[in-house]
């Protein structure tokens, strides 16, 4: 009888300790976001910001930076955002469609050299993308694709296929062949079985792949900086660069952080939209469980 209270105390201590660790980790992850949001709401010079962030003064909070970002930028924020969404959106869509087929082929078809091909793709994905910027430039320049939408969408979606293709393949490997075969016996063609059975089962991984395929191009600077010289194709990543270094006033942290906050909104929206697919667990109970 004397053991029980002590055990309860130990359990409580463990719980408090684990919560403390989690709270610390959370603070570590969230602080930069907090820093950016608070900074974006002030117009203070850099030297005063640290003190302001730790103890925010409600009277000095202002949405002036947001006003500048949204209404007084040239090219306009909306134009930059539109370009970014076009690039990232079409790259994600193209990349995802190709990745789904790639994953299907690599997972469910037996052809000579399949394993080698998978390793080859994995090897490719190990190269840092920046390495490719220069060769890409020469290639696309000779093709006349510099300063065009297509010129960026092609390399962006190619990058998505490489990584997401493997992602989809691994996920499809976990779907038993029985399920596809059941569909074939049920009267479906292989193509129908792919679209009506395998694709719905792959929603979790496709959601994740879409998210990653969107995120890369949306935040890309290296390729965009080199490939885009006209202002009407400029993306958000280029825009944030130009307000930080350009004629809008150097080192205006309020502006830069406000830009970053608005720029991150589509990513948050995208994540929330696909979040439920990423939860997964759809294959549970398909076969004996």
């Amino acid at each position: 009888m004397r053991v029980r209270p002590r055990r309860r105390w130990v359990r409580l201590a463990k719980r408090v300790a684990s919560h403390l660790v989690l709270i610390l980790a959370c603070a570590f992850a969230l602080f930069p976001i907090y820093f950016i949001v608070v900074t974006s709401l002030s117009t203070l010079p850099i030297a005063a910001i640290t003190a302001h962030v730790l103890v925010p003064n409600p009277h000095s909070l202002t949405a002036a930076s947001y006003n500048t970002i949204l209404y007084h930028l040239s090219p306009s924020f909306l134009a930059l955002m539109t370009n970014s969404l076009i690039f990232a959106g079409s790259a994600a869509a193209t990349g995802l469609a190709l990745a789904a087929f790639t994953g299907f082929a690599l997972s469910k078809f037996n052809f000579p050299g399949r394993r080698t091909f998978v390793y080859f793709i994995l090897l490719i994905s190990l190269f840092p993308g920046v390495l490719l910027v220069i060769p890409y430039y020469f290639m696309f320049n000779s093709l006349g694709l510099i300063d065009t939408y297509l010129g960026l969408i092609i390399p962006y979606s190619a990058g998505a296929v490489v990584f997401s293709g493997i992602l989809v393949k691994n996920y499809m490997d976990s779907i038993p062949d029985d399920i596809e075969e059941a569909a074939l016996v049920d009267g479906l063609s292989r193509t129908q079985a792919f679209f009506r059975v395998l694709i719905p089962l792959c929603y979790p991984v496709l959601g994740l792949a879409a998210f990653l395929a969107f995120l890369g191009p949306y935040t890309d600077f290296a390729l965009a900086h080199l490939f885009i010289t006209t202002t009407n194709l400029e993306t958000l990543a280029l825009g944030i660069y130009s307000i930080n270094s350009g004629d809008q006033g150097t080192q205006n942290y309020g502006l830069v952080t406000a830009f970053a906050v608005v720029m991150s909104l589509p990513i948050v929206a995208f994540y929330l939209a696909f979040q439920r697919y990423i939860i997964g667990g759809l294959t549970l109970g398909a076969v004996r469980g």
């Binding site: 038993p176 029985d178 399920i179 075969e181 059941a182 569909a183 074939l184 016996v185 049920d186 009267g187 479906l188 063609s189 129908q192 009506r196 059975v197 719905p200 089962l201 759809l282 294959t283 549970l284 109970g285 398909a286 076969v287 004996r288 469980g289």
Partner: protein, 388 residues
Amino acid sequence: MTGVTLQNVTKRFKTETAVDDVSLAIVDGEFVVILGASGSGKSTILRIIAGLEVQTSGHVYIGDMLVDDYEPRDRNLAMVFQSYALYPHLNAYDNIAFGLRVRRVPRADHPRKLRHLTKREVDAKVRSAAQMLGIGEMLRKRPAELSGGQRQRVALARAMVRDPEAFLLDEPLSNLDAKIRSSARIELKRLHARLRQTFIFVTHDQSEAMTLGDRLAILNHGRLLQCDTPERVLSHPANQYVASFVGSPEMVFLEGNVQPAGAGYTFVKDPVRIPIRGAARPGPVTLGVRPWDVRVEKEGSPTALPSRVTGVERLGSSDHLFLELAGPAPASGAAAPAPPALSVRAVTRAYDFNVGDRAFVTFDPDRALFFDAEGARLESMSLATRLP
């Protein structure tokens, strides 16, 4: 509703021959069980019939139609997988309706044009199948929310609604726990009686095969050893493999020799000596007796083999005895070493014998079988009715 015929079907994978020259004619409405140990090629045969695997040589007919070049979807067969292979993203209703929704049937006004089934037609079929299998209440549930037995019924219903030429069942009961399995077996048999359609059922479980099949096709290493009714397979096995694979408890085998004795021949396996009837040749043979054809008595008749009970398995309605044959006592003073103990299994009435009891064994001469050294059955040979 059609029969299925395999004609010299062979399937080779890279190094091994999974199915070796199998010919099998399955009659319309028949319940055929393909029985074999794992790796015997039984599932491969089913997959070849379904079109999921293409045979290396030979032909497959569904009815009179040669279907070698047909895709699975054009064969109009239904398959129940061992894993059930339900579509995890669809509920039970949609799982059952899935095949119906993609199928197209001739239009009433325009027999050469095809149309999809209407919602109402699909619904009627799904509901009647679900009702027949007693799963009407759980049609809204996803496979993950169903028990093993319920999933198996959904898989069966999915097969039924399609009104297929034949049902292919790949060990559909092996993932159920023992209690449900026996009732599922009875239900399946009843379903077959009701649908009167061709069922091709693959299993490694011989008792499942015995209870379900109109005919059993027994495979080993891709070869079809025998295809016959359960009774015939049991009483007239084609060879020793079939004899040992089918029947539970397993057949008793005594490996011995045929030796000339007087005018006739005797089967010799120390300490057993039993005269033989019929055409015999000296040489090694194996005597096989079903445990239930081993007679065990408390009082020794002159022809009986004395033995000792070394183990008893009490099953309630009957007992399984493990007996050690002692043979005739060696001549007094002879230095002959005691022959190695010979174990025999027998089925007897419950509670007749206890461990340690003396017992006298005879074999039913009409039921005992002989096999040659290669395992082939020696049909002309049998035990003589009386021991000397």
